[in-house]
Subunit: 196 residues, 2 copies
DNA sequence: CCTACCGATCGGTAGG
DNA sequence: CCTACCGATCGGTAGG
């Protein structure tokens, strides 16, 4: 009779979610079976249902956790930083750090959200749209205060978020660049461009 | 007895692949069943197998088509453009155009390649790495010729490709910006930055 | 192009 | 935490 291992301060449910994030990232949500998840944890599939309600609940937990972490960070940055550029820089750095430190979960939230069931799918998309909207306002403020060139705020937000998200290709790469250098390079590129 | 509709110059197999690209984009490869694909085309599932060999063949066709189109374009740009910056600009514009004009296929190649079977998975990943490598060399040349600030070529390639790929969020959006304006904004952002 | 059907696998439940 | 098992659905084949 095997048992699900879980460290201190981590419930078995959280352990299951963690493993699920890894598998969803690697194989995709639909291609990951509950049997495979169970075997990875060293138990039989039905045993999982003592801790969780359904497969769908797993991706739901992952997506809403990631979303709330980004939102909470944005709350803090909006209040603490001074210039629009310094706020943008702080946001880019947070995205990079989150991407590298919580890779599986962020990846799954980015790629597999479409498998959320209503009404959670709508909630997720609304939160994401609201997050983008707040970034747009931040850029608009920068333009007004003459810190930022007169650009289309939506295109700029899209460009920045997408570039940062692209670190999923970086992850696992041979690193002749430290995380700090990576942050600096990317912040620099997105804010200053590359033309000499 | 229904029939698969296909226009002139388009085989039924191509029609099937097109619809498959739409469904794979919308629901993901694993969550798309051959029955659903068949019904979308107005036939029963077994009828598809008169034109294709397997479900796997569909995603294979999509991914390899997209990959070869990008490679062919890069061949042309490497030979025709002059400065490193003008080459980069042409590449960014091509990516944007491809993304907007062949959205389903490009999206699927970007998101669902992991469901390719070996040895095609390896082939795909090798081609992608080779494409990135060529872009890195292009940037390195730009640095040498003093056109481009001394940046890490890989981070720059990652930033540019990821930003452009993020147009998948743009697609279908209400467009108070034309495609040309979008191209110009994004090229400008990625090459010149946003700081005034 | 269809009907009929295959073995495999899915998410999940019953009951202990 | 397990065994035993459910109905549903999967990709694909046989045969016409």
């Amino acid at each position: 009779m095997a048992k699900i291992q879980s460290g201190k301060n981590v419930t078995k449910k959280e352990t299951i979610i963690q493993k699920a994030a890894y598998l969803f990232k690697t194989k995709g949500y639909s291609a990951t079976s509950m049997r495979e998840l169970a075997n990875t944890l060293g138990v039989e599939a039905p045993s999982l249902y003592n801790y969780i309600g359904s497969k769908s609940e797993l991706i739901q937990a992952i997506c809403s956790k990631v979303m709330s972490e980004f939102t909470i960070n944005l709350d803090a940055i909006e209040n603490n930083s001074e210039t629009a550029i310094s706020k943008l820089e702080a946001i880019v750095r947070f995205h990079i750090q989150k991407m590298l430190n919580n890779f599986d979960e962020v990846f799954v939230a980015n790629h597999e959200w479409k498998h959320l069931k209503e009404p959670l799918l709508s909630t997720f998309l609304n939160q994401r749209r609201s997050y983008e909207k707040r970034l747009m306002i931040l850029i608009e403020n920068g333009v007004e205060k003459n810190e930022v060139r007169p650009i289309n705020p939506y295109v700029a937000v899209l460009t920045i978020l997408s570039a940062v998200r692209g670190l999923e290709f970086w992850y696992g790469h041979k690193k002749n660049v430290t995380q700090l250098e990576l942050e600096n390079e990317m912040v620099n590129h997105l804010l200053n461009g590359i033309i000499k």
